[in-house]
C-alpha cells in the first residue's frame, strides 16, 4: 500500500487530497483538505495544507509517499514579470523580419542560418556572439537563452554558442537552448519559451530547495538515491505540467517553463481520474471564484493546444491541454447594463453572503437555490440594493443573474466549438471526413459547479456530471497524474541523418536506403525511453507510443532520392483511476 498526496494551489484556495494506491494502481480518496491561498507566499499555503493532509500518516507511510504539486509559482512569475534579466541571443536567418515576429522581449540578433532541411546556409561569427554576450553582461543580464531559426532541424549553432558560453562566459552557463525545449517548428514561440525558461530558472531552483527543506523537516529526503530503480516505491516530489503529466522536482530545474498552467490541467486530470468520460465529446468546466476554465475531452482524451500554451501574453511551445479561461466565477462583478445583466470579467471580491460587500453570483445562488452555505441575510441585503437600482423583484433578479451566468458560459462553449470545427486540416481525407465536434456531456468541478452545472446542461440539452469532491477535485487530478515526456524524431535519408533535438541526438545512418518506417518507429521509441529517463519520467509500467507520424518521398528530377520521416513519440499519458 502506498500513498500519493496531490496539492493544487489555486487562485482562491489551495486544495489537497490523500490517495491510497492499491496493488492494481487504483486510487482511493482517504482525505481532502483545503486552505485559502496566500498569494504573497504560496509556499506557506502549500506547507499548511501539507501539514493538515499528512497529519495521520505514519513514518512508515512517508517512506513510500509521492507528492504531486500543481503550483502557480511559475505562471504567476511570468504574469507579474518576476525573474532574472535575460539576454536572448537569436539567429533569425532569412525570412520574416525579427521586428515583425510579434516578440515583445529584448533580443540580441546574430548572423548564421540553418534552412528548413537543417542545412547550414550561413556560418556563425563567434566574435559577433562574444560581443553580444559582453553586451548582455554590461546590461546586467543574469541568464542567457539561445535560439536559432530551424534549430530543431539542426542544433549545431545553438550547441556551438553553448560551448562558447561554457568556455568563455561561465557566469551564463548553462544557457537555455531552444531546440531542447521543443522539436516543433515555431521560431517566435521557441524564442518566448526559451526566454521565459531562462527567466524563471532561479526561482525554480529556490523553490526546489525550499520544498526539499520543508520535506526534510518531515524526515523525507529528496536527494536522489543512486541505488533507486524504477520498480521501488519512490519518495519523490513531482510537479504537474500543462499537459497533465508530471515532471520530477529535481529534473524541473532545467525545464521550469513546463510547469505553467498546471491548474487547468489538474481539473482535466481530476475529471479523467474520477469519471469514465467515454462520450465522444465532453466539456470539463472548472468553475472557480474568479474564472471558469473550459477544456474538452474527445473519446476520453483531453484535446491539446495545437501550437502550445499561452501564458501572460506569451505564445509558447509548451505542450498543454486545450483550455480557455473566461472571467466568470462565483465572485465576479454583477452589472446591469441596457436592460441586461452582465457578469464579470472582473472579480468583485468575496460574496456578501460569505462576508464581502458586493453582490456576486454566489449571493444569487444563496437566494435561489437555498444554498446551504453563507449568510442569507447579507445576500438579501445586497440583492435588495441591486433591485432598488435596477427595478424588478428580488427573486426575478436573482434568477436572472443565474441565467446570465449560465448563458455566458454557454456562449463561451459555443465559441470554442465554432473555433475547433474551423481548424484547418491538411489532407484530403481529413477534409472529407470532418470530425464535427459538439458538446455531448458536461463534467463540472469547483465550488459553484453543483449549482450551475444542471442549468448549463439544460441550456445545451446535454447530460452532466458533477465530480465527487468537486471543490477539490483538481487536487485529486494532481495526485492521479503520471509522468509524461515526448520527443521529435526527424530522419532525412537523403542526408543520411537522424536527429532528436530534445536529446541533442544527431547521428549518421549507416544504411540510409534501408531505413524504413519500422526502423523510424523503433528509433523514436528508443529515444523517448532515453529522454524519459533523463527527465525522471520513467515510471513503473510506463508505456511508450508513436503519436504522430509523417513520411514523405523526396523526389528530385523524377527520381526518388530519399525519405523524410517526422515522428513524435511519447510516454503514453495515463491517469490513476480514483474512487471517491
Amino acid at each position: 500500500m502506498r500513498y500519493i498526496i496531490g496539492i493544487d494551489v489555486g487562485g482562491t484556495n489551495t486544495n489537497a487530497c490523500l490517495l491510497q494506491i492499491d496493488e492494481a494502481h487504483q486510487g482511493q480518496v482517504v482525505k481532502m483538505a483545503k486552505t485559502p491561498t496566500v498569494h504573497e507566499n504560496l509556499l506557506f499555503s502549500t506547507k499548511q495544507v501539507l501539514a493538515e493532509i499528512s497529519r495521520d500518516l505514519t513514518v512508515q507511510d512517508w517512506t513510500a509517499l509521492e507528492i504531486h504539486l500543481s503550483t502557480t509559482l511559475i505562471t504567476n512569475a511570468i504574469v507579474e514579470g518576476k525573474g532574472d534579466p535575460v539576454a536572448t541571443i537569436v539567429s533569425p536567418g532569412p525570412g520574416l523580419c525579427l521586428a515583425d515576429a510579434g516578440l515583445s522581449i529584448p533580443l540580441s540578433s546574430v548572423g548564421g542560418a540553418i534552412d528548413h532541411r537543417g542545412r547550414e546556409t550561413a556560418p556563425l561569427d563567434m566574435d559577433e556572439i562574444r560581443n553580444a554576450l559582453r553586451g548582455a553582461d554590461r546590461q546586467g543580464a543574469k541568464v542567457v537563452a539561445v535560439v536559432g531559426k530551424f534549430s530543431p532541424r539542426n542544433p549545431k549553432h545553438e550547441l556551438a554558442i553553448e560551448d562558447l558560453i561554457k568556455r568563455e562566459f561561465p557566469e551564463f552557463y548553462p544557457p537555455t537552448l531552444g531546440h531542447r525545449l521543443s522539436g516543433r517548428l515555431n521560431f517566435p514561440r521557441r524564442v518566448n519559451t526559451s526566454y521565459l525558461n531562462a527567466m524563471v530558472a532561479r526561482l525554480q531552483r529556490e523553490f526546489i530547495v525550499k520544498i526539499s527543506q520543508t520535506l526534510q523537516e518531515k524526515g523525507l529526503s529528496l536527494s536522489p538515491d543512486p541505488r533507486e530503480v524504477p520498480e521501488r516505491p519512490r519518495r519523490k516530489v513531482f510537479l504537474l505540467k500543462a499537459d497533465g503529466g508530471t515532471i520530477s522536482l529535481e529534473k524541473s530545474v532545467t525545464r521550469p517553463i513546463e510547469t505553467i498552467l498546471s491548474g487547468p490541467a489538474a481539473s482535466v486530470m481530476g475529471a479523467l481520474a474520477l469519471t469514465e468520460a467515454r462520450d465522444s465529446c465532453t466539456v470539463v468546466l472548472d468553475i472557480g471564484g474568479t474564472t471558469t476554465d473550459l477544456s474538452i475531452l474527445v473519446h476520453g482524451k483531453p484535446l491539446a493546444e495545437k501550437d502550445g500554451a499561452e501564458v501572460g501574453g506569451y505564445k509558447t511551445v509548451v505542450p498543454a491541454f486545450f483550455s480557455r479561461s473566461i472571467g466568470l466565477g462565483g465572485d465576479s462583478v454583477v452589472r446591469y447594463q441596457a436592460g441586461r445583466i452582465r457578469i464579470g470579467p472582473e472579480r468583485a471580491g468575496k460574496a456578501a453572503a460569505l462576508g464581502g460587500d458586493s453582490l456576486t453570483p454566489t449571493d444569487a445562488i444563496v437566494l435561489t437555490d437555498g444554498g446551504s452555505f453563507g449568510d442569507r441575510h447579507r445576500a438579501l441585503a445586497v440583492m435588495k440594493e441591486f433591485c432598488q437600482k435596477t427595478g424588478g423583484s428580488l427573486q426575478e433578479r436573482a434568477e436572472e443573474i443565474n441565467q446570465a451566468f449560465c448563458q455566458q458560459v454557454v456562449q463561451a462553449i459555443n465559441g470554442i466549438f465554432a473555433y475547433l470545427n474551423s481548424r484547418p486540416v491538411y489532407t484530403v481525407s481529413e477534409v472529407l471526413t470532418p470530425r464535427e465536434l459538439k458538446p455531448e456531456k458536461l463534467i463540472g468541478l469547483g465550488g459553484p459547479a453543483a449549482y450551475y452545472l444542471p442549468r448549463i446542461a439544460r441550456l445545451l440539452a446535454v447530460p452532466y456530471e458533477v465530480l465527487p469532491h468537486y471543490e477539490g477535485a483538481n487536487a485529486i487530478g494532481a495526485a492521479a497524474s503520471r509522468p509524461t515526456a515526448s520527443i521529435s524524431l526527424r530522419v532525412d535519408t537523403a542526408f543520411g541523418r537522424a536527429m532528436v533535438p530534445e536529446l541533442d541526438f544527431v547521428s549518421s545512418l549507416s544504411h540510409p536506403a534501408l531505413f524504413d518506417r519500422k526502423k523510424a518507429e523503433q528509433l523514436a521509441i528508443k529515444s523517448v525511453k532515453e529522454y524519459a529517463g533523463q527527465i525522471g519520467a520513467l515510471h513503473p509500467g510506463a508505456r511508450f507510443e508513436v503519436d504522430e507520424e509523417e513520411v514523405f518521398n523526396m523526389v528530385r528530377g523524377f527520381r526518388t532520392v530519399g525519405k523524410l520521416f517526422s515522428l513524435r513519440a511519447q510516454v503514453k499519458p495515463e491517469v490513476i483511476k480514483v474512487s471517491p
Binding site: G95, L96, C97, D115, T121, L185, K315, Y426, V428, N553
Partner: protein, 447 residues
C-alpha cells in the same frame, strides 16, 4: 480568448491546403511533397500567430460550382478527384472571406493547380484538371453580382491558356497572362496577338517574356503595362494566379525571378485574391516565394526573404532581354489604348459567326482533342457559342460531344437561338452527348 475574433477584419485570410495525401503519380512534380517545405517555413516563421492573419479550412466545391464553369466529359465525378474539389472549394473560401469583408485580402495556397483547364474538360493538362480561378469567379458572379468587373493577372511561367479559353469572349473579365515565351515552353500559346474574341476584344492580354527574364523584366511589365491597364479598367476584384515557376531555380522553366521579385510584384499589384498555380522548385523557391507573397499581402517587410546561395545561382539577363520586353509592352500599350476603335471585321471577318478550329493536347492524360467552335457575333451581348469536340484518349473510344454555351447577360435573340441549337443537336451516331450551359440561370442540361 486567444481565438482571433470573428468580428474583426484581418489583413489576410489564408487557405492553406497542401493535400499531403494526393499526387498525380508518386514521382510527378505535382506530388505530396510539393508544399511540405513551404509548410515548414511558414510554421517556423510562426506566421499563423501574427494578428493580421487568419487561417481558413477549405470547403469542398460542389458539382454545381464546377458546372458553372466547366463541361466535364463525361461527368464531374469521373474527371475531378476529391482533391480537385477541395482546391476549387478552397479558392471559393478565400474569395468569400474577401467579399464578406472578413479579410482585406486572401491567399488560396493550395494544390492541385488549375490554370490550364479550359471550359471543356476531358481530363488533365499541364497538371490541371479544373480551373480554380474560373470556378471562384463564377461563384462570385453568381453570389455577389453578375456585373462585377474582374481582372485576372496570371503570373505563372506558363501561359494561362485554360483561363484564357474560358474568358476569351467575356467582356467583364480582363485576363492578363505574363509568362515565358510560348515558343520556348509548354503550352506554346500566349502570343501578344491573342487579344480576345469579337465580344471582348482587348480583354485578353498576353505578355510573353524571353527565357532568362528576371525581376527587372517582370517588374517592368508590371509597372509599365499591367498597372496602367488596371488603373484604367478599375476592376472590382483583382485575382492573381500566382504561379511560382518563374523562379530562377525552377526545374521546368528558364526564368530568373527571385522571391523578393515575387513579393515586389505582389506589393505593386495589390491583388484581392491570390491563388497558387505552378512552381516546382519545392525546396529552393516555394518556401521563400510563398513567404514573400504572404508578407507583401500583409503589407509587411519582405526584404529579408532571401533564398540561400542566391548570389551564386542567380543569372541577371543581358540588357537585350529587357529591350525585347519593352517592344512587347509598347505593342500592347498601343493595342489597349486603341482596342475600342479597331475594326473587328478585319480580324474576325464579316460572317455573323466567328468560327475557330483548334487542336488541344492533354499532356498529363495523353488526350488529343479537336474542337470546332462558333460564337455568334451579336451587337447586344457577347454571343452564344456552340462547340463540337472530338477527344481521343489512348486505347479508348473517341468521345464526341456538342456544347451550347450561353454567356452572362445573353440577349433574348441569342437565348432563343441557343435553345433552338440545343433542341436541334441530339445524341446519336455522330454525338455521344449534348450539353447546354446557361451560366446566368445556373442551368446545366445534358442529353
Amino acid at each position: 480568448m486567444e481565438e482571433k475574433e470573428a468580428c474583426t477584419v484581418h489583413d489576410l485570410g489564408l487557405v492553406f491546403f497542401p493535400a499531403f495525401d494526393w499526387a498525380i503519380s508518386p514521382d510527378h512534380p505535382e506530388r505530396e511533397e510539393r508544399l511540405l517545405y513551404t509548410r515548414d517555413q511558414l510554421m517556423e516563421e510562426g506566421l499563423l500567430d501574427l494578428p493580421g492573419i487568419i487561417e481558413y479550412r477549405p470547403e469542398i466545391a460542389t458539382e454545381d460550382d464546377l458546372k458553372r464553369t466547366h463541361i466535364c466529359i463525361p461527368s464531374v465525378p469521373v474527371v475531378a478527384s476529391k482533391s480537385h474539389l477541395i482546391a476549387a472549394g478552397g479558392s471559393i473560401t478565400a474569395a468569400k472571406a474577401v467579399m464578406e469583408g472578413r479579410v482585406k485580402k486572401a491567399f488560396a495556397l493550395l494544390r492541385p493547380p488549375g490554370h490550364h483547364a479550359m471550359r471543356l474538360v476531358h481530363g488533365s493538362r499541364g497538371f490541371c484538371t479544373i480551373n480554380n480561378e474560373a470556378i471562384l469567379i463564377e461563384y462570385l458572379r453568381k453570389n455577389y453580382g453578375s456585373r462585377l468587373k474582374i481582372a485576372v493577372v496570371d503570373t505563372d511561367a506558363h501561359h494561362a491558356d485554360g483561363t484564357q479559353d474560358i474568358y476569351y469572349n467575356d467582356p467583364d473579365v480582363l485576363h492578363i497572362s505574363v509568362h515565358q515565351d510560348g515558343r520556348t515552353l509548354y503550352p506554346g500559346s500566349g502570343g501578344p496577338d491573342e487579344l480576345g474574341g469579337p465580344g471582348a476584344y482587348g480583354m485578353t492580354i498576353n505578355i510573353p517574356l524571353p527565357p532568362g527574364s528576371g525581376d527587372r523584366e517582370l517588374l517592368f511589365v508590371t509597372k509599365h503595362l499591367i498597372l496602367p491597364i488596371l488603373q484604367e479598367y478599375q476592376p472590382d476584384i483583382i485575382i492573381n494566379g500566382a504561379g511560382q515557376d518563374n523562379h530562377y531555380s525552377d526545374p521546368l522553366t528558364h526564368m530568373q525571378v527571385t522571391a523578393e521579385g515575387y513579393a515586389e510584384l505582389t506589393r505593386l499589384l495589390q491583388p484581392d485574391i491570390v491563388v497558387l498555380e505552378g512552381g516546382y522548385a519545392i525546396e529552393g523557391a516555394l518556401p521563400y516565394v510563398n513567404l514573400g507573397i504572404i508578407l507583401a499581402l500583409l503589407g509587411m517587410d519582405y526584404s529579408r526573404v532571401q533564398e540561400p546561395n542566391k548570389e551564386r545561382d542567380l543569372v541577371i539577363a543581358a540588357p537585350e532581354v529587357l529591350e525585347t520586353v519593352k517592344q512587347v509592352v509598347g505593342f500592347l500599350q498601343e493595342v489597349w489604348s486603341k482596342r475600342r476603335d479597331i475594326n473587328l471585321d478585319k480580324i474576325f471577318g464579316s460572317d455573323p459567326c466567328w468560327r475557330r478550329k483548334r487542336f488541344i493536347y492533354y499532356d498529363t492524360d495523353d488526350i488529343h482533342e479537336q474542337q470546332g467552335d462558333q460564337i455568334r457575333r451579336c451587337a447586344l451581348c457577347s454571343g452564344y457559342r456552340v462547340i463540337h469536340s472530338w477527344a481521343q484518349k489512348r486505347n479508348a473510344r473517341e468521345s464526341r460531344v456538342a456544347v451550347v454555351h450561353l454567356p452572362w447577360h445573353a440577349c433574348t435573340e441569342c437565348r432563343n437561338k441557343a435553345e433552338e441549337a440545343y433542341d436541334r443537336l441530339n445524341p446519336g451516331a455522330q454525338l455521344d452527348r449534348v450539353y447546354l450551359q446557361d451560366v446566368e440561370n445556373d442551368l446545366f442540361l445534358e442529353k
